[in-house]
Structures are given as C-alpha cells and as structure tokens.
C-alpha cells in the first residue's frame, strides 16, 4: 500500500480535529475533537510501524499507550466539565472567562453582574 494514503488521511483527520477544538463552544464537543486528533496520531503510528517493520513494535505499543491515556484524559476531562457545570450552570467555554483580561469597554461592575448571574444559574441547576 502507498504510504501516502494513511499519512494524508491522518493529516486531514488532525485538521478536522483542530477545527473542532477551535470552533466548538460546548466543552464536551471540544473533548470529542481532541479524540479525533489523538486518533489521527494513532493512525500515523500504526502505518509507520507497519512500514518500518519495527522488531520492537514501538509504534503499536505506543498506539496502545495513547489509547489508554486518551481514556484517562476523557475520564478526568468529563469530571472537570461536570464540576464546572455544577458550579456555573453552563459548560459553554466561551463564558468561562474568569482568567481573561476584562474587555476595554467592560468595567468591573459589569463583570460582577455577570458573576451574580452565573451564581443564580448555578443555584438553579443545583
């Protein structure tokens, strides 16, 4: 088989994952896109392992390790998303701006309003 087929497919899948991570707003959809990117890397690892005929099978061993680490990552990631949802009432990553610089037109009072609004939402969700 031509090596370019799996390599190009992996590159395209990775780009699709990049688009998903940057464009999605729901945190869980972002996690799905991360899974797509990890799978693209896995496809590359398997293809190059088969191409190089590695006697240690490093590519396939590493693929298994990446799959296990992805499973751990999705578990921790979902726990964090659920905790954020429970505290803030939303899993929308555009609204989680506590660590962002305040926008120039936005005074501190407005930010407090937003915080109160978020608290009310959290109480309603709890």
């Amino acid at each position: 088989m031509h090596l370019a087929y799996p390599a190009v497919l992996a590159a395209l899948l990775f780009s699709v994952g990049v688009y998903g991570v940057l464009a999605r707003r729901n945190a869980i959809l972002v996690l799905m896109s991360v899974e797509l990117m990890l799978n693209a890397v896995n496809l590359n690892l398997v293809a190059f392992d088969v191409w190089l005929r590695d006697t240690l099978h490093a590519g396939q061993a590493l693929t298994l390790f990446v799959i296990v680490i992805a499973a751990a990552e999705i578990g921790i990631g979902l726990a964090i998303v659920l905790l954020v949802y429970r505290n803030r009432g939303t899993s929308d990553i555009d609204q989680l701006t506590d660590l962002a610089e305040p926008a120039p037109g936005q005074g501190p009072a407005q930010r407090e309003d937003q915080a109160e609004e978020a608290e009310e939402k959290a109480e309603a969700a709890a």
Binding site: A11, M32, R53
Partner: protein
C-alpha cells in the same frame, strides 16, 4: 526505494488501497459531520462512525489487536462516557444554534492552513514509499502480546498506575462535597 515506483504502478491501485481510500472517505466524512453538526447527541453518534472506520483502517494495515482495542475502548467506553457527559450537563436534544462559537471562521482558516501544509509535506515526503503488507503479519495478537510483555513491561505497568490515578481523580472531582447546600468549595 526509487525502484519501487517501477514495481508499483502509480495509477493501478491494489484492492487493499481501494478499500483503504473508500473507508477513509467515510471516516473523514463522519469526522467532518462530528465537528459541524448542530445536534450534540448526533455529534457523539457520528464520532462512533469515525472511530469505527479507523478500526477498519487498522485492520487493513494488519494491526489486528489495535483494531479490537480501538473498538473496545473508544467505541465501547469513551463514546458512552461522552454521551453520559452530554446527558448530565443537560445538553439540548435537537438543534442548538449556538453549538459553534463566533470565531469559527478563524478556526476554519487555521484548520485549512494546517491541512494544506501537512498534506503537502506528507505527500511530498512519502510520494515514492510503499508499505509491504504481504510479509509476516505485523500486529497479530500473539506478536503484540509478546512484545508488550517482553520489551514494554515497565511502561505498561506505569500506565496502569496512571489509570488508577485517573480513576481516583475522577471520583474525587465528581464527588459531591458535604459542605453547605451541596456546593463544592471554591
């Protein structure tokens, strides 16, 4: 490797190549729908198609064990976890118009630039490289097991400790704290 171009015809693909390209198109289409659909639950279900297609690609690359692990762990547990997450965060069933953020055009530009660069580099680098799939099978369960437990034992055990840590971490994070009105301390 330059001689390989004369052995393998450029425009006479083998059956495995045709199957790989067809499954690859289906996988890529499912991945595209996953990142663009407005229905959140459908995104998770299309992710199943994309990951299952990748499992078929592993089978075509003779990595049999990886393919079944992919089906078991990704399709079996990761997608189910994602669906649980969607349900627990009360994701709207049906179309949600604000699934994409406003900067999706910037994201599209970045993704297209990444895709163009990567595809150009990769296609240029591996234009005359062929995988020999006819020799000994590279990824049968027997071979993978033997190498995993003779050369990769230490990373394997370290990984089991990592999984345990992740398990404990997830339990600690998602446990409801016993403080007043059930809210976790900030």
């Amino acid at each position: 490797m330059t001689l390989a171009g004369q052995v393998h015809g450029f425009l006479s693909p083998t059956g495995v190549e045709i199957a790989f390209v067809l499954v690859g198109i289906a996988t890529l289409g499912a991945a595209l729908v996953t990142v663009t659909t407005k229905q959140l639950v459908h995104a998770a279900l299309w992710l199943v198609v994309a990951l299952g297609g990748l499992a078929v690609e592993y089978l075509l690359l003779t990595a049999e064990f990886i393919a079944w692990v992919q089906v078991l762990i990704y399709v079996g547990s990761v997608v189910v976890l994602l669906l649980f997450g969607l349900m627990l965060t009360k994701a709207p069933i049906g179309r949600s118009p604000d699934a994409d953020s406003e900067n999706r055009w910037a994201a599209l530009v970045v993704a297209l630039a990444a895709a163009a660069t990567l595809v150009w580099v990769v296609a240029d680098a591996f234009r005359t490289t062929w995988i020999n799939l006819d020799g000994t099978v590279q990824g049968s369960t027997k071979i993978t097991g033997e190498t995993l437990f003779s050369h990769w034992v230490l990373p394997f055990e370290a990984l089991s400790v990592l999984l345990l840590a992740a398990l404990v971490g997830a339990v600690v994070l998602s446990r409801r704290s016993s403080s007043a009105n059930g809210r976790a301390p900030r």
